[in-house]
Symmetry: C2
Subunit: 456 residues, 2 copies
């Protein structure tokens, strides 16, 4: 064939027109200045004295403000050593603070002490949690939905936070749980093959199972598998995709015209498990069973979109519980990276590696010399070892004593690190032991679409 | 909750910026005129005497040129009574003409007369058909792929053209066939429910089956069903979606930022059946089996995109055979509409309805009076009855005689219409009879993923 792909020119007519529009805009502004001797200012008729600043359109969709933290599903950054300002985030995202009143209500409803992640504001924000509790008090059930993007085999302790909390929720509320492994998302975003992403999904599922989920109440699914096994799931994806425009995902996720169409339509796939009829094997045709999503706050954009779409397709809005980010060893300025083995404690680390990493890399809020430290005390607010203890040490009084002793200087950085090391070492070892018990057969069972023990 | 969805403002920043840019452009043009007393003309500095036409940017992606036909999957229009200029379309789309040499080669390879659609340039354009024939001569097999968008129960004779031809191809080449019912597409584009679209898919499948396809060699699938039954199909969809950007589908299909994300990602779903490993039940894991797609030329944009992506994901490019459009009774200027029952002959029409429609609505190339017609003759090139006969009358000599007699004036319009009516009535009646024989069980069998008789 000689002239096969000369169709490109034809196909690009529209693109060319848009380019032309931009060119036109630029020329207009230049010509305007030639004619008037003034820069163009939108909305103002030309006058003799005004010199307007260039307030032309920004085409790149960049809406960062210098004083704002960046928090979206792919980027989290802040300039503060204390980490992201979560109170500001609540205002920006329009969610609600998990305040003492709500924690007290959860304690009352459950008749037991709330999880340390609630007591310590690690899960700090929510949407509609009171509705879930209202329903629960009337003996109406709900289900839990959480997930993971499997971009490598290496999971670190930070990745466990939503799962540790979700396991607790499953236990105390006695409800079914679906866990989405977004292997399709990782394929679309990363330089990985489908096979690699699917493999990571199964490997990560083993670590998730090792958190202790009830096999009779938990369904873990790979998108790549489940989309091709459940027509009802795909039907919900298409329903959502019909009710979200490119303009909307552009606004919510910052997608651009250069992004692949897979990324652009993916948010519908993360949204779909929020609706109970995406799981006919569990809930039959029922579309009205409330969904509660525990997740890190960076995933909220997906569920803002989901909550916007839900009423328009006749489904209830999912409720949410948002967690803070688990800090990197180097400090709370960034989210951890699975690709930097020194940025966190990995679930495969040996006791010796844990000890070395904490001693070598954990950012310290202590003073430079023992003398200074004894005199002025350390700063637990920026000390990563102390932050890690707030995640993993169960005893509130012990933790508070550590905080006070560190702040007063009674506790040295080395001693604080030792406490953390002795907390992490058995925790990780036990996790490794439980993971070893997870057979291929067990994984297969968790990942098979099937009925769950579910009392409506 | 008081402040739940106040996040919309945050999310819409970018949208607002684009709105602002458009407003800016409009204001610039108004202000420019105020200042210069002239309309703005891109690229020309202002002068005293020129009054420029408004050639500002078209923001709606409209790329019609006055002298060009519009042909895309959703719009076909032309100003010529002869219909679309197909030679121009070949140049614009970059395909190849099905010339006498290719038709002769097909005849030689098959050892039998080519289908009348080939003899009469109804299938007029192709991509890589010679490669399919090369492979076939070396006893290598291929498979056929065609489809239908089921937007209503009502199918007309024009809808049968690709299926009549595909049945012939299946018979003479003895190859398997997959037929995609894009019920998901119709849901995304039309004001229909998922249930309606799926219902139309099954009903239309009955008409397709009535064309006589070999049940042992044909798989018909609804996207809504098959996507949820075949992980390999979804994997190919995601692969394609990773390798096509929004810019590309914007250029190819004219999508805009206001289109839903389902439309934007849909082209990947129509592309995926072009690759043999989308059908593991038929072809196993083989991804190298060539695909030949007979379709109307308006579907070519999907497959230009597919052919662009194929080598980048390690798959062969599908070959294509393109048909012209079946003209509406009212004339060849437009494609027919399933929603206007007078625009064509429907597969449910009675003999009487066929007679009335042809007599009343078929655009005539004849003269106003019998005297004039006898003297000057009619124009078969714009006569819809004659056009329909080129589609459905098998005998070449008989057709040519009709053409000559009509052009000379020996054959009157009423007589020509009578020949068409007598051709259509038994054809439609036989179709209706065959459709009656199609049981729900038969449809189910055609639409069940299963192995087909397929010799590699």
């Amino acid at each position: 064939e000689i002239n096969v792909e000369n169709t490109e020119c034809f196909s690009c007519n529209i693109h060319a027109e848009i380019d032309a529009a931009v060119q036109l805009l630029l020329k207009l502004k230049v010509n305007y200045k030639e004619v008037t001797g003034q820069d163009y200012k939108a909305g103002c008729p030309p006058s003799e004295n005004s010199v307007a600043p260039d307030n032309g359109p920004a085409a790149d969709g960049d809406n960062d403000n210098d004083d704002e933290d960046t928090v979206d599903p792919w980027n989290v950054s802040t300039t503060s050593a204390k980490g992201v300002d979560y109170d500001k985030l609540i205002v920006r995202f329009g969610s609600n603070k998990i305040d003492k009143e709500l924690v007290d209500r959860i304690e009352k409803v459950l008749g037991q002490k709330p999880h340390r992640f609630l007591r310590r504001e690690i899960f700090f924000s929510h949407r509609d949690m009171n509705q879930i509790l209202d329903a629960y008090e009337k003996n109406k059930s709900f289900y839990l939905y959480t997930g993971r993007g499997p971009s490598s085999e290496a999971m670190h302790v930070g990745h466990l936070i939503p799962f540790i909390f979700t396991k607790w929720l499953q236990d105390v509320f006695d409800v079914p749980l679906v866990i989405q492994m977004t292997d399709d998302e990782k394929y679309l975003w990363k330089d990985l093959t489908l096979e690699e992403c699917h493999h990571f999904a199964v490997e990560n599922a083993k670590d998730i199972i090792a958190c202790g989920f009830d096999i009779n109440k938990t369904f873990i699914f790979s998108d790549l598998d489940y989309m091709g096994s459940c027509p009802e799931f795909y039907r919900n994806v298409v329903k959502i995709q019909k009710h979200v425009t490119f303009n909307q995902v552009k606004g919510i996720f910052g997608f651009t015209d250069s992004d692949c169409i897979g990324k652009i339509s993916f948010p519908a796939i993360q949204a779909a498990p929020s609706f109970s009829n995406s799981f006919p094997q569990i809930f039959g045709a029922r579309k009205d069973i409330p969904c509660l999503i525990p997740c890190a706050i960076d995933q909220d954009p997906y569920f803002r979109m989901t909550r916007d779409v839900a009423p328009r397709i006749g489904y209830p809005k999912p409720a949410l519980l948002h967690s803070t980010f688990f800090p990197a060893l180097q400090g709370a300025q960034t989210k951890m990276s699975a690709s930097d083995s020194n940025s966190s404690i990995f679930l495969t680390d040996t006791p010796k590696q844990i000890k070395n990493k904490v001693n070598k890399h954990a950012f310290s809020g202590g003073k430079d010399t023992v003398e200074e430290h004894r005199k002025h005390g350390g700063n637990p607010e920026v000390d990563v070892s102390f932050m890690y203890l707030t995640f993993f040490m169960e005893d509130d009084e012990q933790l508070e004593k550590i905080r006070q002793d560190y702040a007063s200087g009674a506790l040295l950085t080395g001693e604080l690190k030792k406490i953390l090391i002795e907390t992490l070492q058995p925790m990780i070892a036990e996790h490794q032991e439980r993971r070893k018990q997870v057979t291929d057969e067990t994984v297969k069972q968790f990942m098979t679409p099937r009925p769950l023990n579910f009392k409506l």
